[in-house]
């Protein structure tokens, strides 16, 4: 893969539709994918990769290396908030520091899905257990960040205090997590035969749906960009640097664990990506003083497009040459 091919990712339809969304808002167009369709597409995409991951896991089976990757994934999700929280605490208030720590420790399903579509175009396989890794990386970061927040912030108003167990429960019952884990298990149980039956729906039309979903993401990201004008230059740098740092750590660990190129890319993308579904939902309950306008905007309007346009091909390039 040369630089020209790297650039090709930019030219594939799903990514271009993301830009169409940005442009449409820039032109003040009234183009929109009406709700609740974007919400449904997101469920559909989770359903699709869950079923596929489960079916592949059925074929490959669990083994010690799979377990190792899953444990590593969980650890990274819990550790990233630790280091980011202490950097952030110096620059912004403790509530948003904790929320941002959770955001960057957790993962973005859509970035993962865009990477799936990228690997497909490059005919490179990855293991079904990476879908499980994604599902398992959503929550540890949330729990870690809430623990940090509780340690550093003594609340006077205990009226509606949310206990940690409550947060943990919430983190595992969030709709998107139930959907991906459920589909993964059902795909695993159904095996090859089960997957074949749903493949025209979950597999064949996948890329088309992804185009429309990324169009919506572009529209939403462009709206959020306005929120970012108010937050400082620091957040911009953070939203671009942290993914790169996390990606480099992930690539190093992938080499240590001797992961296949496909698995390494997926793991790297998970570490580099930032949540904008599960984390904001959890933060509104656990740390309501935090400002979604900041962390959702950073994740969605900066880190997500960076990963999708530059990050994925870049990580892929590095992995191919250095692993």
């Amino acid at each position: 893969m040369n630089v020209f091919e790297l650039f090709q990712n930019f030219l594939n339809p799903p990514v271009l539709f993301f830009f169409l969304g940005l442009i449409a808002i820039g032109m003040k167009s009234n183009l929109e994918i009406p709700q609740p369709l974007p919400k449904f597409f997101s469920l559909y995409l989770l359903f699709s990769i869950g079923m596929k991951g489960g079916a592949e896991l059925h074929k490959s089976g669990f083994n010690s290396s799979v377990i190792a990757v899953l444990l590593l994934a969980i650890s990274m999700s819990a550790l990233i908030p630790l280091y980011t929280f202490f950097i952030l605490k110096r620059k912004i208030d403790i509530h948003n520091a904790a929320a941002l720590a959770a955001t960057y420790g957790s993962v973005s399903a859509v970035t993962f899905i865009t990477a799936v579509s990228f690997l497909q175009s490059n005919q490179m396989p990855f293991g079904g257990h990476m879908v499980a890794a994604m599902a398992l990386m959503e929550s540890p970061a949330i729990i870690a960040a809430v623990v940090l927040h509780k340690l550093y912030f003594k609340e006077e108003n205990t009226l509606m205090e949310t206990s940690l167990t409550h947060t943990i429960k919430d983190a595992f019952t969030e709709g998107s997590i139930v959907m991906i884990l459920g589909s993964l298990v059902i795909g695993f149980v159904g095996g090859e035969k089960g997957y074949e039956a749903v493949k025209p729906f979950t597999g064949d039309i996948f890329k088309g749906v992804l185009c429309l979903f990324l169009l919506d993401m572009g529209l939403v990201a462009a709206r959020r960009l306005k929120d970012l004008r108010k937050t400082g230059f620091f957040t911009l740098v953070f939203a671009l640097l942290v993914p790169i740092v996390n990606a480099f750590i992930a690539i190093g660990l992938s080499k240590l664990l001797n992961l296949s190129h496909g698995d390494a890319l997926m793991f790297t993308v998970l570490c580099a990506s930032a949540s904008y579904i599960a984390v904001p939902a959890a933060m509104r309950v656990a740390i309501p003083q935090s400002t979604p306008g900041i962390y959702v905007s950073m994740s969605l309007a900066i880190t997500f497009p960076f990963n999708v346009v530059v990050g994925i091909p870049l990580y892929y390039y590095i992995i191919q040459y250095f692993i």
Binding site: E32, A278, P280
Partner: protein, 97 residues
């Protein structure tokens, strides 16, 4: 026709369950919900365009008597301060089934 109070609360969609808990705690047994409301307030614009209802409001309407209203309002104030939202109270004539 009965004189009654109509309480209208607009708050984050994800928090609507907590508002229902407050209402039911004080014995009010009826309420209505308009699930999708967008808007703007102290906490910025809620476009209603996200995937997890964080940037979306709901509106809950409940008709109740004076004491119920007072109890609900007392508990609602810190809740709205902490989470987000507004509350309006109007005197209405209420057609009792």
């Amino acid at each position: 026709m009965k004189e009654a109070y109509k309480i209208e609360i607009i708050t984050e969609k994800r928090a609507i369950g907590q508002v229902i808990d407050i209402i039911e705690k004080y014995g009010v047994t009826g309420y209505s919900i308009i699930a999708d409301v967008t808007g703007k307030g102290k906490r910025g614009i809620k476009h209603g365009d996200d995937l997890n209802d964080v940037f979306k409001n709901s509106m809950i309407i409940t008709v109740c008597d004076n004491t119920e209203a007072e109890n609900i309002l007392k508990e609602l104030r810190p809740f709205l301060q902490r989470i987000s939202g507004i509350c309006m109270v109007t005197e209405v004539k209420y057609l009792v089934q």
